[in-house]
Symmetry: C2
DNA sequence: AACCTTTCTGTGCGTACTTACGGAAAGTCA
DNA sequence: TGACTTTCCGTAAGTACGCACAGAAAGGTT
């Protein structure tokens, strides 16, 4: 019965008629954007770029633990979505700089709010890990 | 030289001394929390629960496209982090209700900000997909 | 007795992410 | 000449994600 597929939108497409996305709809393109922005490294890259233009290796140093491969991959996603502007100096050895676009600045702000909350709330969250359910 | 491992924190641990997490540190536990909250379905589940307590199947209907397997998985992550409260009525057929904890309410607010922005900004983002780089 | 209900869990398997490793470019420096 | 620089890409390999499918539980209905 439940094919698990659909958006159950009308003939014209709800989100299309509204002029905005609908993340609860399975086939809405906004799902892809969410995946990029909230990808493992996407969040951290956006935040890192909030402090200004960075070279590739600077980002790699800042976002600790990311591999070259994944950093490049993540930056391509963000660039394709218009969040990040890539500037290639066309020299050897390569020199490439990344910066947030106006769209990226907005996204970074939103993501930053979540990140800050996590960092600040970590003690409370960790308490849950250790506490379990004593009486229940 | 670069082992790609470290947090480069001091002897006591920077984030530990500050009493908060540091997402840029590779080994900080806050990374796991970020992963849970920004997981493919985590974001959508939190938002769905903002409107109140839901049964499992209600959530599955609301968050279109999620499988039973992944919904259960996601809810377990969120429960372990103290974001979601699970209430099992211990009956057959099963009846289980999920609701946000005070911690979850806060997290959902932050995540919601990002989600709303994505939905509203989708037209601008899609424009980037189609535009490419015409002049460059 | 056979079937239905709901919320999961176990199995199997395909897809996607992620890492490690090696290579390429063109000029600089020993 | 050979080593070094930086930013990627190709490949192989490993891990985690995600789905379809089947099964289980206890009682009510047919």
């Amino acid at each position: 019965m439940d094919a698990g597929d659909g958006t159950a939108e009308g003939p014209a497409g709800l989100s299309a008629r509204l002029g905005r996305g609908d993340l609860m709809a399975a086939e809405c393109p906004s799902r892809a954007v969410l995946r990029h922005l909230t990808s493992r490294w996407g969040v951290l890259v956006l935040i890192a770029l909030q402090s200004g233009t960075h070279r590739f290796s600077d980002l790699r140093r800042k976002v600790r633990g990311v591999s070259e491969r994944m950093l490049a991959q993540t930056l391509q996603w963000l660039e394709a979505d218009g969040m990040v502007k890539r500037r290639d100096f066309q020299v050897v050895p390569p020199r490439v700089e990344y910066a947030l676009t106006p769209l990226g600045v907005e996204a970074a702000e939103k993501v930053r709010i979540l990140a800050d909350w996590i960092e600040i709330s970590l003690p409370r969250i960790v308490a849950n890990w250790e506490a379990g359910e004593p009486t229940e």
